[in-house]
Amino acid sequence: MNKKDIIICRCEDVSLADIHECLEAGYTTFEDLKRILRVGMGPCQGQTCSHLVQAEIAKYLNLNKEDVKFQKTRPLITGVVLEDIAKQARGEDDDQS
């Protein structure tokens, strides 16, 4: 299968070909790839693609997968509507007793 048709990051539409191109250009950590390709920056925050990216970096650098660092984890765990946060912060949220 063509590497361009293998999607690694569904949120940001990043293909295996994109990942390999960036590795060849010298970006060999998750944090580097993320900044250039936006891989892991979408709504799922890397929950789908992280393992795949990690595996590709490991293969390229000839490392064990567990020796390839993940991207930094930041809040939030899932997407939350800003207005809902604002309501709760103002104490207007009826659902909260």
Partner: protein
Amino acid sequence: MIKASIVIIGGGISGLSTAYNLAKAGMKDIYVIDKGYFTNGATGRCGAGVRQQWGTKLNCILARKSIEFFGRANEELSYHKDIEFKQEGYLILATTEDEDRQFRKNVELQNSLGIPTKKLTVEEALKIVPHLNPKSFISATFCNTDGHVNPFLMSEAYYFAARRLGVNFHFYEEVKEIIVEAGIIKKVISNKNEYLTNKVVNAAGGYAKEVGDMAGVEIPVFSENHEILVTEPTKAMQGPMVMSFSKNIYCQQVPHGSFLMGRSNPDALPSHDISSSWQFLDEMAKTVSDILPEVAKLRVIRTWGGSYNVSPDRQPIISDTSQLKGFYMACGFSGHGFMFAPITGELLTEIILEKELDDYAHDLHIDRFKENIITDYEHSVV
């Protein structure tokens, strides 16, 4: 031991721009050292806005010249991708009579320096951003040539152009010591190499003070955490950056479709902290739902933090220093290093190569803080 004409500490946008401009001017054996991954510091954490609406003459000039460069950056740097320069303006809201009066003065200053800012009524502002809450502000200013640049891709454009000109980059390498003997820089020592050099550029962003200390150069700057968030991407719905100093918000939809927004924490203490707090999320959500209720319907997917490197007058320091020959610095941008980077690299190159400087550029010198008298102060900061 590596022989270097100059060692640039920090591979963020200021270091990249300086490296590129020095190499373009013909300098060889330039080394850029950065302790982390590509754009790991403030550059990769910034809000991606580029604006010319400032309250001081100096910032206005730096901004205007930098915007001119962004317009020709893809071409000049022969970038194979696109830096995503979007000129859909900055709309800055006045929410108090005092602010309205100050903005009148700002617009006059900006216009006198060739920046096409206009003062707008609430009705005029609503034509540009229809989903603004009309009750949240009393007037606005708008400059249609302000806008957005992608910090990662702008950095990459400089990085590739500099590499083609022979600049050497060492990422994941941390400078530990600067050896000075009899008032002359002798060596830069990192955790991986030693560099024989008598010229150093301090472009260390949040760590500019510490790099100054290594060389015995006192720099009156400190770092402060500024938090920011990003939403899920959505349809194109807001051209300009919307900003308010009094309500403490900047909020822009980037070409990718997501919204970026940030605010400053008035209680932040000087530190290298770049963590995320729930307090930021609460305050940001409240402010955006007041000013831009439509935007508040979106989901936030991530928050992060980055360092502002703050100077006493909230204007950058771009200069050499009488404290140490061969030591140059670009720091204290107070949150605006990315948008001033093109002119920063050009000016620092002129300073290093001992060229004649334009008059205004002398005011960027660190010596302006010597007597502890601040003559001008930038208030237009979030």
